[in-house]
């Protein structure tokens, strides 16, 4: 045993690197010189070849997969463009590319604030350290274009000197504080999930906290369950947008990966995000953490099989069978929500009054919030299938409540037949239905990508050369 103790001490010693840079060094390649294995594996997040049944690293155009989403988000930027997240390597490229950030340029600003950068780069802690969080968030998105050019990397999760895990984002610390908890008490094992919870969480922009600033807040004050977060939003009468068809005051859920994970079997047994998405692997006799963050289905042996002595096929099947069961009802809910919005629009068109519609709009808000919470976390159906199933069932009940009431309102307005389901068999048809001029948006984006982005990169590199 004494020899093991000794080896462990050695191990700690061997880990202490000769770091020449600070915690705010945003260039991953520099860290990579000291930690080539971690860096090399990190670079593999650029690989987009793996596709699983529902996820993977490939570009997945979610609006093409389900044009229903276009209708669900009518009046909101997500109806323009929504992809499934891919490797961390692409964080910056993808936020440039998405139509959601618009096409800022000569005189034109982005529809988004700088807050959007918050989860995309190790340049963020660097800048926040200089200006503070509120100032970082202030202003429209293009104003920090040349400041943020490195995709998610080492400084997002590590302290430079010790390479210990650290929290680099104030939003998570504030979220813990809002619950009366102290994040600095987190255990090592918890940190292996909390570094992810800096970004893989539901969030909103609080405009009231600091004048003129879209302040990034995780709405966890009452707790992290679907209902607790909903209550938080209801209490402050928050809506992300008003739906273009139904006029319901909508909530958008964004990747509540961590929140839903917390309700699952694995979390309850102390299994962390890193256990599955960053397994310990062995290469040339050296063991290290695989920084190729990706679907664990591309690496069952190093992830699942550490704990489960089951055949690879069986484990993949475990994941797929849960995803299938959840997906079945999620699609039902999506379809019902399309009907809700279309039927509500018909009611308005026929002259329905605010008072007749109030309850209905509240049902629609609740139903879609449940749908989005379950759909926006791409791992939810595996991370916590029972909870995700529960949420979807609740959503179906609300959506149908809305429709029963709508049927009565419509009948009172003289419309007593089924409102036809729109032809939204493709993303294009759906976008046309809600009146988006996609060609224009894409043309403008192209100009932005051809002219503005190269300039951002040039200016950024120049700045970094001076470090």
């Amino acid at each position: 045993a004494s020899s093991i103790v000794q080896r462990r001490a050695e191990a700690v010693f061997a880990y202490t690197p000769e770091v020449t840079f600070s915690d705010f060094e945003p260039r991953n390649s520099l860290w990579g010189e000291l930690f080539p294995r971690e860096y090399d594996s990190y670079l593999k997040t650029a690989d987009t070849t793996f596709r699983s049944k529902y996820n993977g690293s490939a570009m997945v155009d979610m609006l093409q997969e389900s044009p229903r989403m276009v209708v669900l988000w009518a009046g909101y930027l997500f109806s323009r463009d929504y992809g499934q997240g891919r490797g961390h390597y692409y964080a910056i490229e993808d936020i440039w590319n998405t139509l959601r950030t618009g096409a800022p340029g000569a005189g034109v600003t982005s529809p988004q604030p700088n807050t959007c950068w918050a989860c995309k780069s190790p340049d963020v802690p660097r800048l926040m350290n200089e200006t503070g969080a509120a100032e970082f968030y202030r202003g429209t998105w293009e104003t920090k274009g040349s400041e943020i050019i490195n995709p998610i990397g080492c400084a997002d999760c590590h302290e430079a000197k010790s390479m210990n895990l650290r929290i680099s984002r104030p939003a998570l610390i504030e979220a813990f504080e809002s619950q009366g908890r102290d994040i600095s008490k987190a255990s090592h094992q918890e940190m292996r999930s909390l570094v992810c919870a800096q970004c893989h969480v539901e969030y909103y922009f609080n405009k009231k906290r600091t004048e003129g600033v879209d302040y990034l807040v995780f709405p966890w004050k009452n707790g992290t369950s679907l209902e607790e977060i909903e209550k938080y939003y209801d209490d402050i009468e928050f809506a992300d947008w008003t739906h273009a068809l139904s006029r319901a005051p909508m909530l958008k859920a964004q990747h509540p990966d961590y929140e839903v994970y917390l309700t699952g079997t694995h979390a309850s047994r102390g299994v962390s995000c890193a256990d599955c998405h960053m397994p310990f692997i062995s290469e040339g006799g050296q063991k290290f953490t695989d920084h190729h963050l990706q679907s664990p289905l591309n690496n069952i042996a190093a992830s699942c099989q550490v704990c489960h002595r089951e055949e690879t096929d069986k484990l993949v099947q475990d994941v797929y069978s849960r995803q299938d069961k959840i997906m079945e009802n999620r699609i039902i809910l999506e379809t019902l929500l399309v009907r809700c919005h279309v039927e509500a629009k018909t009611a308005w068109d026929k002259g329905a009054g605010e008072d007749q519609m109030k309850d209905i709009l509240s049902d629609i808000r609740k139903a879609q919030w449940r749908w989005d919470f379950s759909a926006a976390g791409h791992g939810n159906s595996f991370h916590s299938p029972v909870e995700t199933g529960r949420i979807i069932a609740g959503g179906i009940a609300y959506a149908q409540d809305a429709r029963v009431k709508l049927a009565r309102v419509l009948a009172a307005l003289g419309e007593n037949r089924e409102i036809p389901y729109p032809d939204i068999s493709t993303k294009e048809k759906a976008q046309a239905l809600i009146g988006l001029d996609m060609k224009k948006l894409r043309d403008e984006k192209k100009i932005f990508l051809d002219n503005v982005v190269p300039e951002w990169i040039r200016a950024g590199k120049e700045r970094e050369a001076g470090y």
Binding site: A1, I4, G270, D275, F280, K287, V306, C307, R309
Partner: protein, 194 residues
């Protein structure tokens, strides 16, 4: 060639020698068969309970968490290399068979030191990831690294056989004996129906 020729018996001996050889071969095959020896080459736990004396171990194992993913040999035979595996099997099997046949078996069987070491190494073989990587100790306390040099069974004394395994400890345990799942009367009844 000359050497082989020496083995050929003189002509007048040939017949009795052939007969004798045949008898011995037959006997060997008979013993091989009735003792279910072919099965000893495999890994089926059913093999071990060919001897009723192994019933307590079979019954306890088959009610343990290890039933689905282990068989007796996973623990009791070295798994690190194929030669050691079969050598150990042959040696152990012969001793068990001898003791059993000579009716020298004790009321309570104890594992021998050599066997204990084999078991210990096999525990580690399967559970190594859990034991050696403190990052992955999600399901356990963190201290296993410091325990590797004791026998696992010092602590996990119930795994998988429990503590007391005398011959009479599981009197009626259903060790796998051949038996029809659908009894005769019901088979007949169903054949005759309608």
């Amino acid at each position: 060639m000359a050497f082989l020729k020496k083995l050929v018996p003189p002509d007048n001996w040939k017949f009795p020698v052939i007969v004798t050889l045949a008898i011995f071969t037959g006997l060997a095959l008979f013993v091989f068969k009735i003792s279910n020896a072919p099965s000893y080459l495999g890994d089926k736990p059913e093999t071990c309970v060919n001897c009723h004396i192994m019933a307590p171990q079979y019954a306890t194992w088959s009610h343990s968490s290890h039933r689905e993913k282990t068989n007796c040999n996973e623990c009791h035979v070295p798994q690190d290399n194929i030669f050691r595996k079969y050598f150990f099997k042959a040696k152990d099997g012969l001793r068990h068979a001898t003791v059993f046949t000579l009716r020298r078996e004790p009321q309570v069987i104890f594992i021998k030191d050599e066997g204990r070491k084999v078991v210990h190494r096999n525990c580690i073989r399967c559970h190594e990831e859990l034991l050696t990587d403190s990052k992955l100790l999600a399901r356990t306390t963190e201290t296993h690294t410091f325990r590797m040099e004791r026998d696992c069974t010092d602590c996990h004394r119930e795994t998988p056989h429990g503590r007391v395994n005398s011959l009479s400890s599981v009197p009626w345990a259903r060790v796998p004996l051949p038996g029809p799942i659908v009894p005769g009367w019901l088979r007949n009844m169903m054949k005759n129906k309608d």
